[in-house]
């Protein structure tokens, strides 16, 4: 932490004693990028304030006053089903992401800090796993889970979400970079258990990286559409992505849903934005810290 903030202090123009001239071209390019990325979000924000008639009848970037009516309508829909979807998404993403981070940390730590037979093979198999397209897996996963009667349950989405070769790969990088070997050896001479060394020495050192892994996995599960779409038939179990797209599908018979869908889209983005904003400080510092320590 200390090292990183020093490094930043040295390199960050604004905090430096000698202020650099403002680079207008650079700033403008960045702002153009920001505009490009924010514009559709702003559109959703505006569109969510409109009634169905206004949505299709007026210029969509001008706001209207129906946001709370839309939210109320969305809340009324099938006894608050939308909020249940929100809760399901949070459950899948938080529990799935948490477990995924934990087991990835363990595996990454083992791959980075142990010498054992089959290590290279294990790592290479894992890399192949990174490359397997998700859709190739989804259909046979469904058929296999159906054979043990687990489809259409929370488990059918949670279990496949926990395994993430990519997270293991990241955890291995972090463990390699953030946990010095001599610290482990010191722990060993003290007679500490392998698990205890991992839990009380390695884990805290990897923590910044683990938060990143958690974030990646959280977002990946939150945004996943294919897996829950295939696994779930009961709309009480849907996450937001499947729920909202099912609204669009039903919209093919009752398209008044467009106002609801757009409001739902807006509400579904908010938690992740909040997560990003609140954790982005960790995000930056942590990655830098991990690297500097190595």
């Amino acid at each position: 932490m200390k090292t990183s903030s020093q490094a930043h202090g040295r390199r960050d123009g604004q905090r430096n004693g000698r202020r650099d001239r403002i680079g207008w071209p650079s700033t403008i390019i960045l702002l153009l990028g920001a505009f490009y990325c924010l514009m559709p979000v702003a559109w959703v924000l505006m569109a969510a304030t409109k009634s169905t008639a206004e949505l299709f009848g007026t210029f969509t970037f001008s706001p209207s006053g129906n946001l709370f009516t839309n939210i109320a309508n969305l809340t009324d829909m099938r006894d608050g089903l939308f909020w249940r979807w929100m809760g399901n998404s949070a459950l899948y993403a938080a529990v799935g992401g948490g477990l995924s981070t934990l087991i990835s940390a363990m595996a990454g730590y083992a791959l980075a800090k142990f010498n054992f037979r089959g290590k290279k093979l294990a790592f290479n198999i894992l890399l192949v796993g990174v490359l397997v397209p998700g859709v190739v897996l989804a259909i046979p996963q469904y058929l296999l889970l159906a054979k043990v009667g687990l489809t259409n349950t929370y488990w059918s989405v949670l279990l496949p979400s926990i395994i993430s070769p990519y997270s293991v790969y990241l955890a291995r990088v972090y463990a390699g970079a953030a946990v010095p070997t001599d610290v482990i050896e010191a722990g060993r001479t003290d007679g500490a258990h392998t698990w205890r060394i991992f839990r009380s020495i390695a884990m805290p050192m990897m923590l910044p990286g683990l938060i990143t892994i958690f974030l990646f996995q959280f977002v990946a599960i939150w945004n996943n559409y294919m897996l829950p779409f295939i696994m779930l038939g009961n709309d009480q179990l849907y996450p937001l992505t499947v729920g909202l797209s099912s609204l669009v599908n039903q919209g093919s018979q009752y398209p008044a849903m467009y106002a609801l869908v757009i409001t739902g889209a807006l509400l579904s983005i908010i938690p992740l934005i909040a997560l990003f904003l609140s954790l982005q400080r960790y995000w930056r510092v942590d990655l830098a810290a991990g690297a500097v320590k190595a």
């Binding site: 009961n234 099912s246 009752y254």
Partner: protein, 482 residues
């Protein structure tokens, strides 16, 4: 685990009971038919569930229900001695209200609704669940055109033995045929159906001095006039996303894309009738008299709402779509019969419409049949369905419960009679086991043709659909007649 073991046990018992039931019920049928078969079915089911098996439930309720020709009361079926839970997949908005109404009967059969995310995903999930061997519901809602696919996929059972004969009497032969596929089996009970009609903005027609087209030639003429009156307005659109719509159009012209001849399927997608329809619409799209963009897009909804889409060739359920899309246009729309190819012989096709079936994984088919019969063929069920804005298929019951036009069409006093009259002119049509192949070929081929805006491409698209559909049937091993 406990639950599963129990369920398996129950399954075995039920299966045993059903085999027995099946035997006695077929006996009953051949002997006197009527009430015997209905009662036997319910008895056997009750017996199957409780080893003790009393039949008080079956005999207890015999209050006279409308449309009941036997002792069986469609409004208040006997229910079940032991509590039975049935899983029911549907996707129609509001259907939970009808299910609640059933469950309020407290007759031992509890229906648990699982709301699916639309017709096609529901079919896909059912077929996958059937393949996997578990996970299917007891009761499945299916559009008519998908029933052959489900039957071929071993997803549905023949429910003849569980149905009271009074059920069949509620439906016209044309509708009933779509759930039997022309065989002796019954794979579903018809729920709603969608005879095609022409919906138009009466206010715009009046403003522009247009007359309502009664033939397709007139329709083309009116479409051109609309373009002249307002360059932003269109009388209609050709939608490459809605294969069911196009199928209905060809049905009106006398096409039937599939057929059964001497134990073989026939495929006749590119019949003269279909080609005539494709040529007609291709011509209109090519000259720009109508739009070439799909229905149900945000654009289309916008056009409905702002009055640049002044007509819609749609089905009996159109008012419920219009009211949610373009609520401000209430009272401005009117319905008329579809424009005709031959004005002397009025005909129409259908778009949409669905039935309710029992899946092959159901352990309680007899109870499921009770619910399905109530839902689609009892006065209570039909009334509830009509209140949702659906157009029930049960002919007499619909006429009885639907006396007022839907609120959206209230301005048109003869709406109900008109629709009933149109419903009587539906042409027969047979769907085959690979409707999905034909329909996805429709989406792709007509998508291209619409983009090209070429009449020739429209006609060629029909030929491509024919060959893709036929090849698929042959390569899957079906017996196909030339």
């Amino acid at each position: 685990m406990n639950n599963r073991t129990w369920a398996r046990l129950a399954a075995v018992t039920a299966a045993l009971a059903l085999t027995l039931g099946a035997c006695s019920s077929s006996d009953g049928d051949s002997a006197t038919g009527g009430s015997t078969s209905g009662d036997t079915a319910t008895d056997s089911a009750a017996g199957g569930d409780t080893a003790a098996g009393g039949d008080t439930a079956a005999d207890g309720d015999t209050s006279q229900g409308d449309g009941a020709t036997s002792g069986y009361d469609l409004n208040n079926p006997p229910g079940s001695e032991t509590p039975v839970e049935l899983i029911y997949w549907d996707w129609a908005p509001g259907i939970e209200n009808i299910v609640d109404q059933w469950n309020a009967k407290n007759n031992g059969i509890t229906v648990t609704l699982v709301t699916m995310d639309g017709g096609d995903p529901a079919i896909a999930k059912l077929l996958t669940a059937i393949k996997a061997g578990s996970g299917a519901p007891d009761i499945m809602h299916s559009e008519y055109q998908m029933i052959p696919t489900l039957v071929v996929g071993d997803a549905l059972i023949d429910m003849t033995e569980y149905l009271d004969p009074s059920v069949k009497g509620q439906f016209t032969d044309a509708v009933w045929n779509s759930v039997t596929l022309g065989t002796d089996a019954v794979y579903a009970v018809p729920g709603d159906f969608g005879p095609l009609a022409f919906f138009y903005r009466a206010d715009k027609f009046e403003e522009w001095g247009l007359t309502v087209p009664t033939t397709w030639d007139e329709y083309a003429e009116v479409a051109r006039q609309v373009r002249e009156k307002d360059p932003n307005a269109y009388l209609g659109t050709f939608s490459s996303n809605d294969a069911g719509w196009f199928t209905g159009m060809t049905q009106q012209a006398g096409a039937s894309w599939w057929g059964i001849k001497d134990d073989s399927w026939t495929v006749d997608v590119n019949s003269d009738a279909t080609k005539k329809v494709a040529e007609y619409w291709g011509g209109l799209v090519e000259e720009g008299a109508i739009l070439n963009t799909p229905m149900y897009t945000p654009e289309w909804v916008a056009a409905l709402a702002d009055g640049t889409q002044v007509g819609w060739l749609s089905a009996s359920w159109a008012p419920s779509v219009l009211i949610s899309n373009a609520p401000d246009t209430q009272g401005l729309w009117k319905a008329a019969p579809l424009p005709q190819w031959d004005a002397a012989n009025p005909a129409t096709g259908t778009w949409g419409g669905s039935g309710t079936a029992i899946t092959a994984q159901s352990e309680h088919p007899a109870e499921a049949a009770q619910f399905i019969s109530w839902l689609n063929a009892s006065e209570e069920g039909v009334k509830a369905m009509a209140e949702l804005g659906q157009y029930p298929a049960a002919d007499d019951l619909r006429t009885k419960v639907m006396t007022e036009p839907p609120a959206f069409m209230a301005a048109q006093t003869d709406y109900v009679d008109l629709l009933n009259q149109i419903a009587g002119t539906v042409n027969p049509f047979t769907y085959g086991p690979n409707v999905n192949v034909a329909y996805s070929a429709y989406n792709d081929e007509f998508g291209k043709a619409c983009e090209q805006k070429s009449q020739d491409a429209f006609v060629a698209a029909v030929d491509t659909m024919q060959s893709l559909t036929l090849e698929d049937l042959i390569s899957s091993g079906f017996a196909v007649a030339e």
